[in-house]
Structures are given as C-alpha cells and as structure tokens.
Symmetry: C2
Subunit: 303 residues, 2 copies
Amino acid sequence: MPRIAYLGPEGTFTEQAVRQLLTDVASAELVPAESVAAALDAVRSGERDAACVPIENSVEGSVTSTMDALADGAPLVAVAETMLPVRFDILVRPGVRAEDVRTVTSHPHALAQVRRWLSVHLPEAAQSATTSTSAAAVAVRDGNADAAVCAPLAAERYGLDVLAGQVADVEDAVTRFLLVRRPGEVPAPTGADRTTVVVVTGDSVGSLARVLNEFALRGVNLTRIESRPIKGSFGEYRFFLDFGGHVGEAHVGEALAALRRHCQDVRFLGSFPRADEGGSSGSDEAFTDAAAWLADIRSGGRA
Amino acid sequence: MPRIAYLGPEGTFTEQAVRQLLTDVASAELVPAESVAAALDAVRSGERDAACVPIENSVEGSVTSTMDALADGAPLVAVAETMLPVRFDILVRPGVRAEDVRTVTSHPHALAQVRRWLSVHLPEAAQSATTSTSAAAVAVRDGNADAAVCAPLAAERYGLDVLAGQVADVEDAVTRFLLVRRPGEVPAPTGADRTTVVVVTGDSVGSLARVLNEFALRGVNLTRIESRPIKGSFGEYRFFLDFGGHVGEAHVGEALAALRRHCQDVRFLGSFPRADEGGSSGSDEAFTDAAAWLADIRSGGRA
C-alpha cells in the first residue's frame, strides 16, 4: 500500500487535493505532515512514496516554502498536478444560526480571502486565528469559536453544519497542487503537459533573456516565472519556470539541453499532464520532421 | 502633519519599516490599516499621504496581495524602500523563564520561520496562532499564552521581556517594504536606484523574452521577476519586474519606451534609492554620449 504524505493537518484543501490526485485513493495510506519541508523530506528518505504539496496561490501553506524545498536537497520530481477553486465553507455546530455567531476563526490567509464576505454577513463577529483551516473546525466543534472558515472536506470530518458554502471574495481564484516523487519514470506525454524546472543563470546582464529566448525560438510557451533569492539572501537568484510541453518532446528537450549548456545549474522538477485547459506548446512534428531530414542528409540521402 | 498608513496592527515589522523609511518620523502621524488593500486605498482616496507595505518575503502580510493591490485600481508609485532582517524576539511576561513556558503563539508564518528554534528551545510548548505578531504579544500580556514570537518593536510596546532575541531559522532572510504615494514628483536619481513596473505582454510565445531582450540590449539588470495571474485566473498573466536604474536615466527610459511600444500595458510603479548594495545597472554615460553624437550629426555636425 503506497504511503502518501501531504501538508496537514487532516481536512484541509491539501487533503482534498491528494484525494483528487490519486487514481486509487482507497488503496493508499494518506499521512499528514506538519510542513511542506517535512512532507518532501519523508519522500526523500523513502519513508513515504509520494507527497502532495501546494505550489501556487495557496491558502494553507506558504508557497515559496514549497519552491525552496523542491530546489534544495535531494532531487524530487512532480508527476501530477491538480487545481482546486479557492472557495470556503463557513461551518458552525449543528443548529447554530448566523445571528448566534459571535466569533469566527481560521488561518489568517483564509480569513483574508473571505474578508469582504465576513464584513457583509457576519459584521459583528470577532475574528481569531488558527494554524490551519482544520484547526478552526476543531475550535468550533469544541465550542471555542462559533464559526470556522474551512475547506469543504471539513464539515463532514468534524461533524459541523454548513452555514454558507462556496464563499470567496475573488470568484475564480484557484490553488494548484503537485504530487511529488523520487526521480524514476517520467509520466508519458499526453499532448497537454506542463514541465517545471529551476535554473541558476549566473548574474550577468541578459542571462535570463537568453534562457527565455531558447524557449521562444522553439515555440515553448511559459506559464509561470518567478525569481527567488537563494538561501534567503537578495544577492543571488534562481528562477522557477513552468511551460507547456513534455521533456520527451523534441522541441522541449532541445530547449532544456540549451539551458543545460549555458546556465550554472538546471534542475528538472517534472513533466506531467496539465490540470488546466492549456495544451502543450510548440509543434513537435516540425522538430521530428527536421531531425529525420537531418539524419537523411547525414547518411548521404536527399539534400 | 503627513498621515502615513501602514499594514497594522501596531508593533509589527511593518511599523518598524515605516519608522525606518521616514526621515522625520516625529512629525508624521502613523495610522495602522487592517490590510494592504485598505492602506493603499486610503492613499488613493487622499485620506492618507503615503502607505508602507511589505512587498517581498514578508512575515506578516501576504506579498502577492500587495502586488495585486498595486497593479489594480488608481496608479500609485513607490518612492522609497527598506529591508529588515527576518529575526524575531521571543517575548514573555516579566520574570517568566524558559522552563515556565507551556504555550507559544504568533502568526502562522512567524511560527513557521522559527520552527527549528522552537523545537530545540521550547520543545514541550503547545503552539497556537494569532492574526499578527502583535496580537501574539497582546495574548502574552493578557495571560492567554506564555511566549510570543514577535517583531523587536513589540517588547517595549507591550511591556514584555525578551526571553531570546534575534531568533531565525534562516540566517540571512530579509523582508523588503515600500513607501507608496500618489503619482507626483519622482525621487532624484542617486546612481544606485531600483525601478519597478508591471507589464501585460499579451500571450504570444516569446512576448516575455522580447521584454527581457529590451532590458538586456541596454545593460539593464533585472533584480526580480514574477508572473501573477490577472484577476485570480490562471489564463492571463502579468509580470512584475524590478531592475537596477532610474526612469530618469537615458538607457532605462529607452527600455521602458520600448516596452510601451510592444506590450499591451505597462504600469510604472516607481524609481527610488536601493536599500541593498546593488548599484544602478547599465552605463548611462554611453547613452548620453551617443545621444549627443546623434544630435550633432542631425544638425550637420561631424559624422
């Protein structure tokens, strides 16, 4: 039975994400970890087989901590992604009505993301913080607060009622999660994949432009870019790049090989099917055609 | 008396930053705001004269919320920046010793950033969350927790003792803050400035590479880049770019004008003296020399 770590505690958006990511969740053992770093280190050590962590626009965990934890330490690769809408359930003990709610609690990020809703619907409720959305559900269950801002999973898990569902100040916000393993087999290309890498370009002027030119020349479309200081210092940077395409495709492979030639360091963080509607980028057919043509003339065939 | 908003509450790192940013803090009225968006909107409406908000690697506020709040709504510009080391004081009521501490509290981000220290020095203490580091100090003062993880300002403000000072798991982490005003006079170039913009490139392949080439061609050195989905959607993106140099310099101005020509949208977010050691980038002298040469030959002078 595979053992899968996820950013805990139980009942958060990350548990919801891991349940969505696994094809056979019934046959897996899900184990909450106390931090992103702990979840990833448990995979590195072999204690867990995979880990589910938030990577973009998260409510629970700090996403920069995920990026740093993937870039440092023994290599890991993402093999799948999923996206969840950032919508909360407002949970109360059974029978409690809106007019009974004197206190509302959650992780500060979750409170911030429903600030407008709370100001309209629970304007008198005093707000307090918890370390996670699940801890908020526990606080309400135990009578330490009247309402909790939670992931949808939490109502059933903690025996609470939904006072209001699908609450979000920003309508279409989503959080993206990755399923991460030790390096091994790369998932097969599907025609609609995403690849993610982290590169250290060196600090000469134009070094990042050169990287992006290698992508642009081959029709590879970036979907995300972010610079992060290395080791907390603002002096040296690395770049996290996501783009459409799969490492197994000729044009993507050629772009990555070019990066390998002129960057100080390139770490491959995975190729996997995209959870959104974007396709792969670039035309691999043109590249395979050209490679066949080149092989042909090299072997003395048509010029 | 100028009225300056900052991300509150009182006694946090952002208050420390605003005190460091103002040359004559005694003659200013500092007013805490409940969110980054509220602080910036108070400047937009004219209710406040400036706002201090975290922009990079923050402990208190979500930094993406600052980026989004600067990119949307009426234009604002940064006129100064400052950096603070991410180091915490562990505060207790006077007389309380480490062995007396049963509970420790703070904002979840602050707890996360001293996780290792707590596991060594206060391994038995139960952790709970607050909405800010200052709220943690209040909780300790009021006897609701034994120790608080706080900004250095908080000890004196809330009458607490420092159990341990300068605590940080990551030695050299810093948070960067901006002082933001309504558009008006741009601070004079100092020779060591930073400029910040947000651009919408359009979604053709290579559009970001083209932007970075305009910088590279003129020797302008990026110090930060980050893509952010527009309006919470992952479909369309804008890019936040920081680079060495000042809008008043010829080579920086020429690069910005090039962006204006081929981006869908460019918003100038300010040029101001750098708080770190990096200088301006590129050589403005070569550009002013070339401009003089061009003017000369246009007027029939030497070719």
